[in-house]
Symmetry: C2
Subunit: 625 residues, 2 copies
């Protein structure tokens, strides 16, 4: 990236990179393609020294290219980076082939509200005018098809034009602003010749304003008055913290509400770890009728729900089984507030929450006493032999789902951990574990794309490294899900990150078996040797090529390589082996990439998944009547 | 699938399966998801015995489920199956997450004209009416977003409805008819409850008419007269056979034209192996200005080009460098004919070609003599040490691109082989090799999606097995491209197919390096141990799980497993090693899956790629001026 001051010009490509850097992006994800090579070259042709000073528009900090194994993985990785770093992330792909491969990952960010900007290198505008039949097109001379597809899964999109018809910096800012403020994907098509078009650098001296719009004062006052009235009238209000509290950065405000009000709070699956699960007012994870019985009873006995950042999706709500009627719910959202059936537009939670906390502080002690008296046990409790049933095995030594999750909560998780869980037995099981303080739980409950968690873990690990945190990054994924995106483990190794990858090995897609087809061929997967996976992705076992690798081009291309990760495989078959591993301090030190294969009984599932599966089967009528 | 006669009803799911079977589908590709499980269950709940009799609508032949490692791979696999089997193929995915992952593969079929029907299991229509926030949605209560995206890359799409508003059999037939006749993707959204909806079986007794529409007789007569006149007036006409001659099944007609007219013919890269490359009138592969010099001269000296099924894309035409003006071209297409600038709509090549052949037969001997006299040498010629240059290595023993391709043509390829090549050094290099008779060359020149070739090879191998051919399936892929879709090797092993996988190992994306950035980090890939890849995907190295695998459910699910492939790895570093391997009869017997890693110099590329890269760099203006 070249330097610039506000009176100068800068290339459009550099402008975009500097804006990304200002918004917190330090790693770019993707796969190179011939229409994006020019843009990628800017990353290493920087004429100014690397800098991490974000206050100056004149010197953009260095952004690192992280090449992924494929584009879908890149999008998933960016998603994870964004979630862990709490900033924008960016994926760079090439026209047609590359961008379409990424769409499922981008749609996931749309669904789950993650700000990912998708930058697509597209053919020069001259080709568009000529309707040339270029490679990576449908052969119809059209160049807007793919942008139209992405428009359906993004909040802002553009194709940049350097023909004088467009204020390129303003257009870039528009898309990035919407992406960040709405916490959803944006799309920028970057024609090859636009990369080097000169644009004014003036806007760079003013950061993009990413604050939420101010609330409508009078509407806010009316909503606040009504909420306070209802809370004070209620005998037993309770707070449920959900995903959008995380996405829209109101966690400090929610914690203040909890602590000033003295009310008990819960997480949903998508809101898990929004606040500390060790907090004395924490009452567990609420998932409607599939919640732990004590948790379910506690919520259903409340006469008012304060829902913060709620996403009422099937898997996040126990298949829509909240029992509390809408008349006894208050919903705080990023841009509006809902009290019973009354909607207050323009009243967002960011500024409303502190006012609500202040208004509820006067009765703190009474409420806290009630909270303490009625707090359900939500503990990591190992099952009895009886509770575990057949899946503990004839000798009771096998690792059942009922055993695994409390054991992980009790003996493995530590403060600082990032925990990524795949949709499946991992996501349903892990919500049942109580997490230590200051942990970050990353899951994709709404979109639920199989395979997402593996590249997501790479993004989380890179974000954690950039944040310079003492951290461990831990993934739980099934043997079926792993297969979709497994090659991203090689990027982890190349980038030198050291996550724990727990593979729940049970011969297939167990979540699907629970829903339909326990005896079906289609729920099996190809058998893999997971130990050899690490060997395969750990580089050459002998000198690879004898010609060309010692030349200047080759050496330069590898100059910024980081030391790759060491790896270690563990095959774990019994409770005793698992417990011993968790007790081993060497194992607990994240100094290598570890793949821990947990051999688990086929047919076993966490209790919550079994209940969810019954509900899904009913909705979907799998059987012929 | 349950049996039915024309007076009976059948479920919509069975109707669809029986239509697929009638159109030649014997394998279904995809990944299961909860919205598609009901449909997939039909595959194994058949109440009628398996049958391969396609003449009876009452007994649909058995269709085999082939679960892929991910959905993009499934779409690529279906593409390969369709190309090799010359029939429809089908991919089954689940709503949102699954279908979007497949889009790049479907778009490739759109671009390259391959009939793939994408069947998507979607939520029950009741959920649509309720605007429920289901998993795998964007959380907006909308259910038509993904169909709208797929509509951009398919020739027909539908969402089936069982509420009485739709004639489901007619609607299924409409989509399948368009898919096959236009040789491009179709899209069918199948709500869970529609799978079991009863529909009339009546239409099943009449196969879907997949013939091309009849030509307009008078327009055809006029076009024929004009073509014959021009051919007879020309001194030196020549025929160029391109992709759509393959896709629209006119190869017998084209061969007849060649043989009755006595004219010389060429292939384009996309048309390669349309006719036999051992034919005495075969003049080589024409790629505009990047053709072999003798071939280029031969075409450019012709005064009339007869282009059959032409796709004039950049990579198929040497960056649009045909020198013959449009006034001296005749283009025969599936639905129209172009003579100079005059377009004859409704005149397709299928029925025009035989008439043209008949009209040109009278002067066969004179033309054949001219063809023989002017035929360029298009031979598999090994390079001299001088021609090979530095990439032969200091000792001249390394495997250069200049050496590899003629060596493959001379010593390895055999009649019956299917050869799949990845876009990159493989596609550009392989066009320079002359192939034996009765070989099938499979490439993706127009769409050019990196990673396509690996799953495509699986589809080709399964098609070849169904066709019961004595065959070998051979893949050439780079070490960079392999990484995107590598896990499909595990499906090959599970399905027991035995392709040859040649991995051109040169430390990265060589085609990108040739275009831009020979010293760029972004053109490197993570180093892999390709030997361990085979171990990783070859199943468990020890008994895997001790509980659950012996139960009835588990045993039933594995009852139809086929014996998995043996595998073997070869690391090949020198010309001598390569030559010895090709000479080894054991190696030439396709009795196991072989991965042959060819260690090749970094920076080397086939001659045609070097020229194409120069043209691409010029179009795309990578450098700042």
């Amino acid at each position: 990236m070249s330097s610039s001051s506000s009176s100068q010009t800068v290339t459009a490509g550099d402008y975009l990179l500097q804006r990304l850097a200002q918004l917190g992006v330090r790693s770019l994800y993707g796969v190179p393609g011939d229409y994006s090579l020019g843009f990628l070259s800017l990353l290493q042709s920087s004429s100014s020294p690397a800098s991490t000073d974000e206050s100056s528009a004149a010197a953009a900090p260095q952004i690192r290219w992280v090449g992924n194994a494929n584009e879908l993985n890149a999008a998933y990785c960016a998603d994870g980076y964004s979630r862990a770093k709490k900033t924008l992330s960016a994926v760079v792909t090439t026209f047609g082939v590359g961008e379409l491969s990424a769409l499922n990952g981008i749609a996931g960010a749309m669904s789950e509200r993650v700000p990912v900007v998708h930058i697509v290198g597209v053919p020069a505008s001259s080709a568009e005018g000529n309707h040339s039949i270029l490679h990576h097109t449908l052969g119809d001379g059209q160049f807007d098809t793919f942008e139209a597809m992405s428009a359906r899964i993004s909040v802002a999109h553009t194709r940049l034009r350097a023909n004088g018809s467009m204020d390129i910096p303003a257009e870039i800012d528009r898309v990035l602003h919407q992406t960040v403020v709405q916490a959803r994907p944006g799309y920028i098509a970057l024609p090859t010749e636009v990369v080097h078009a000169k644009v004014s650098a003036q806007r760079l001296s003013t950061p993009i304003d990413t604050s939420q719009p101010d609330n409508d004062e009078r509407a806010e006052a009316a909503a606040l008055e009504e909420i306070v009235k209802r809370v004070k009238e209620a005998q037993d209000p309770i707070i449920i913290v959900d995903a959008c509290a995380i996405r829209h950065f109101v966690l400090d405000e929610v914690r203040e509400l909890v602590e000033k009000s003295g009310l008990a709070f819960l997480h949903t699956p998508m809101g898990k770890t929004a606040l500390s699960e060790q907090h004395p007012q924490y009452a567990g994870v609420y998932v409607g009728s599939i919640s732990e019985p004590e948790v379910k009873e506690r919520v259903e006995s409340a006469d008012l729900l304060i829902l913060v950042g709620s996403i009422m999706s099937d898997f996040n709500s126990g298949a829509f089984t909240y029992r509390t009627p809408q008349t006894r719910r208050i919903e705080l959202h990023s841009g509006h507030t809902l009290i019973s059936y009354a909607r207050y537009d323009g009243v967002g939670m960011k500024t409303l929450l502190p006012k609500l906390s202040a208004a509820l502080a006067d009765d703190h002690d009474r409420r806290l006493a009630h909270t303490q008296k009625t707090l359900p046990a939500f503990a990591n409790k190992l099952p009895s032999r009886e509770e575990e049933g057949e899946f503990g095995g004839p000798q009771g030594d096998l690792i059942s789902q009922a055993y695994l999750w409390p054991r992980v909560g009790l003996s493995f998780l530590r403060s600082g951990d990032y925990v990524v869980v795949e949709t499946g037995t991992s996501s349903f099981g892990s919500v049942e574990a109580r997490f230590p303080e200051d942990t970050t739980y990353v899951t994709q409950v709404l979109w639920g794309s199989i395979g997402w968690s593996v590249p997501c873990t790479l993004g989380v690990a890179l974000a954690a490294r950039e944040l310079n945190k003492k951290h461990r990054v831990i993934l739980f994924v099934g043997d079926g899900s792993l297969q979709l995106t497994v090659q991203e483990i090689s990027t982890m190794i190349r980038e030198g990150v050291c996550p724990y990858i727990f593979v729940l090995s049970n011969d297939g897609y167990e979540i699907e078996r629970q829903i339909h087809g326990p005896d079906a061929r289609y729920n099996n997967v190809a058998p893999w040797n997971h130990k050899a996976i690490l060997s395969a992705f750990s580089g050459y076992d002998e000198p690879k090529t004898t010609f060309g690798a010692d030349k200047e081009d080759a050496k330069k291309s590898h100059a910024d390589d980081v030391p790759s990760s060491k790896t270690q495989y563990y095959g774990v078959r019994t409770k005793a082996e698992l417990d011993a591993l968790f007790a081993d301090e060497e194992f607990n030190t994240p100094d290598r990439l570890r793949l821990i294969e947990l051999f688990m009984p086929r047919g076993d599932a966490p209790r919550a998944l079994k209940r969810q599966a019954e509900a899904s089967a009913k909705l979907n009528a799998y059987e012929d009547d």
